[in-house]
């Protein structure tokens, strides 16, 4: 209870308070996003580099990836052949660069196709009670077979190693996972009051799916799609490695490794370089997926 100044105007001349808290420096939106989701950006940049490499493969590769050179077989890395040459004298560096195309096309193709088909199946299962049991048991049956075995079986059935067949074989194995995820998302969303309100408003089933269900299931499926992309790249490499995938005329990281398999103790470079490319690309896609998941659902962020 000290003395109050009787003249309130005394305060008018008071100096403004000095800032106690430092004003945080304003960062740009891009910087903030990188700070918040570093894995997403790291994965994105790495993947971007691989994509650029695939697109501009003819400019980057210094030799024809299919050109045979019997005089220059199994050479170690040199200035001419950065990664050395394989048993038929083909330049491994050029083959690796071109191999990115196969991996990316397969990864992306499988991710898109499996997500689209799986989503439709999941929507149907989640929305029609009588079909649910049948569809999900079929999906469970497909999931009980390891993806790689299923893909091998399908490749044998289709008797031909084209990129399209590889995509188809891997997609079929991945569909059940997307269908399951979509179904569970649909089941949780369709119990919400706004879906009931939409029914009361006379919105048709298709309208409800389009307006209310799909937008709310898209986020988890996008994340799942990146994981599918990564696993499809690995499955493709495995298929090519065991000879069930693409013919060696189309260079893929898997079949480059397959060719180097017999010599890997004496000439490890043949296997080593494509393996590095494959690992880095799969890592990039997985990092991107993890980052996306954290961005979409912050609750999961720190758990893994």
């Amino acid at each position: 209870m000290t003395d109050f100044p009787d003249d309130p105007h005394k305060f008018a001349a008071a100096k403004p308070m000095p800032a106690i808290l430092a004003v945080p420096p304003q960062r740009s939106a891009l910087l903030r996003s990188i700070r918040r989701h570093p894995t997403m950006w790291l994965g994105g940049i790495l993947l971007g580099a691989v994509v650029l490499m695939a697109v501009f493969a003819p400019l980057i590769a210094n030799q024809d990836p299919a050109a045979l050179n019997p005089a220059q077989r199994v050479r170690p890395p040199s200035a001419e052949a950065l990664f050395g040459t394989d048993m038929l004298g083909r330049d491994i560096f050029s083959r690796c660069v071109y191999g990115a195309r196969v991996s990316l096309i397969v990864g992306l193709g499988v991710a898109l196709l499996a997500s689209a088909v799986g989503m439709v199946i999941g929507l149907v299962a989640g929305f029609t009670r009588w079909a649910d049991g049948i569809i999900m048991r079929v999906m469970d049956g497909m999931m009980s077979i390891p993806a790689i075995l299923l893909a091998i079986a399908l490749m044998t059935l289709m008797r031909g190693g084209s990129i399209f067949n590889v995509i188809l074989a891997i997609t079929l194995a991945e569909i059940p996972r997307v269908a399951r995820l979509t179904r569970s998302a649909v089941l949780s969303v369709r119990e919400l009051a706004y879906v009931e309100a939409a029914v009361a408003c006379g919105t048709s089933r298709l309208g409800i799916i389009r307006q209310h269900i799909l937008p709310n299931t898209l986020a988890p499926i996008t994340v799942q799609a990146t994981y599918i992309c990564a696993s499809a790249m690995i499955t493709e490499a495995i298929l090519s490695f065991i000879g069930a995938g693409l013919p060696t005329s189309i260079p893929s990281w898997g079949n480059i490794m397959a060719e180097g398999r017999a010599l890997w103790q004496v000439k490890p470079n043949i296997v080593f370089f494509p393996a590095i490319f494959l690992s880095l690309t799969v890592l990039a896609v997985n990092l991107l997926g993890d980052g996306l998941r954290d961005a979409v659902d912050p609750r999961l962020a720190k758990r893994v």
């Binding site: 029914v199 408003c201 006379g202 937008p215």
Partner: protein, 333 residues
């Protein structure tokens, strides 16, 4: 208004409505029993009338609302909209009726899709029913609806999370009104709001009803709110209507012992006032296995052997007052 139309066909009529939810059990998931959520409920709502449905939690009042809105399929019973049966209609043939009735839910947070803006939310019935296919006309209509419920039309581009609970409930009401329905079901529409906002929404509902001639099924557990806005009141207990009467009759001369107990539990604004409370003993029995005879008999202070054997029907005891009790005039000590 109600008196003039009383002898014509009611707008909405429910006859012996039943809704049993199956309980599955065992390894095979067979149906082992049923929850009798609604067990023989009949009522009629005239044009422009408000019928309130009151009762404690779990008595089946919301299930009645959902059945009337055809969000749930009936187990048995009839549902009529202006004399036409709508209970068995498949969704495809139900559409013209959906336009004429709509529902407002309790929770204004979960009943609006968080990814849609106000314009899309309110215009949903317009788009679904193909009313006003022109986008500009639709927008104008949404603006008008928002104004009707007391929101500024320029809020149209905002998302639901930018609104408070009361404002969200206004959006829900605007959406329910969009297709110009004759009948609105308010399923605990004000229960989730705080008291001052509750009053605003109730006044809004009453004004809308007066201006638009709406009929309303008002589901609530709040007797004070019900007394304020209803024409008639139905008291539910364990899936059945115990008493259905004009508001004034019900609040001044309740007949059913359950109604008496409910009314005596309402707090009085005057702290010095005394009242003889009717304290009920025990809990509400399970709707899986309701008591024989009168469902209320296990907690009724005046129950006799007869109550355990005969189930009392809902019969007219006095003009405008229907009671399901064998001893409607007995005093409760």
């Amino acid at each position: 208004m109600r008196d003039m139309t009383q002898d014509t066909t009611p707008l909405v009529e429910a006859r012996d409505l039943r809704k049993y939810f199956p309980i599955s059990g065992g390894v095979l998931g067979r149906t082992v029993n049923h929850v009798k959520a609604v067990d023989g409920v009949s009522f009629a709502v005239q044009r422009g009338e408000t019928l309130s449905l009151v009762g404690e939690s779990g008595c089946g009042k919301s299930t009645v609302g959902r059945c009337v809105a055809r969000l749930l399929d009936l187990t048995s019973g009839e549902l009529l909209l202006e004399g036409e049966r709508i209970d068995g209609l498949p969704e495809s043939r139900l559409k013209p009726f959906r336009r004429r009735l709509n529902i407002v839910f309790q929770d204004p947070f979960s009943s609006l899709n968080p990814r849609m803006n106000v314009e899309a939310l309110v215009s949903e019935p317009l788009r679904s029913h193909g009313i006003l296919t022109n986008r500009a006309a639709r927008k104008a209509r949404v603006a008008g609806l928002l104004e009707t419920v007391g929101l500024a039309p320029d809020t149209m581009d905002r998302m639901p999370h930018q609104f408070s609970g009361g404002q969200r409930q206004r959006i829900c009401i605007a959406r329910a009104l969009a297709s110009e329905p004759e009948f609105i079901i308010c399923d605990e529409a004000v229960s989730a709001l705080d008291v001052s906002v509750q009053a605003q929404i109730i006044n809004l509902l009453m004004r809308l009803q007066r201006d638009l001639g709406l009929a309303m099924l008002f589901i609530s557990h709040d007797l004070a709110v019900v007394e304020h806005l209803s024409d008639r009141v139905a008291v539910m207990y364990l899936g059945r209507i115990m008493e259905l009467a004009d508001r004034d009759t019900l609040f001044s001369r309740p007949c059913h012992p359950y109604t008496k107990a409910l009314l005596s539990a309402v707090p009085l604004p005057d702290p010095t006032a005394r009242r003889d409370r009717v304290i009920l003993k025990g809990d509400v029995p399970s709707p899986i296995d309701p008591p024989s005879g009168c469902p209320f008999r296990t907690r009724c202070p005046i129950a006799t052997d007869r109550c355990a054997q005969d189930r009392p029907e809902l019969v007219e005891n006095a003009p405008g007052q229907h009671v399901a009790c064998h001893y409607p005039d007995a005093a409760i000590a």
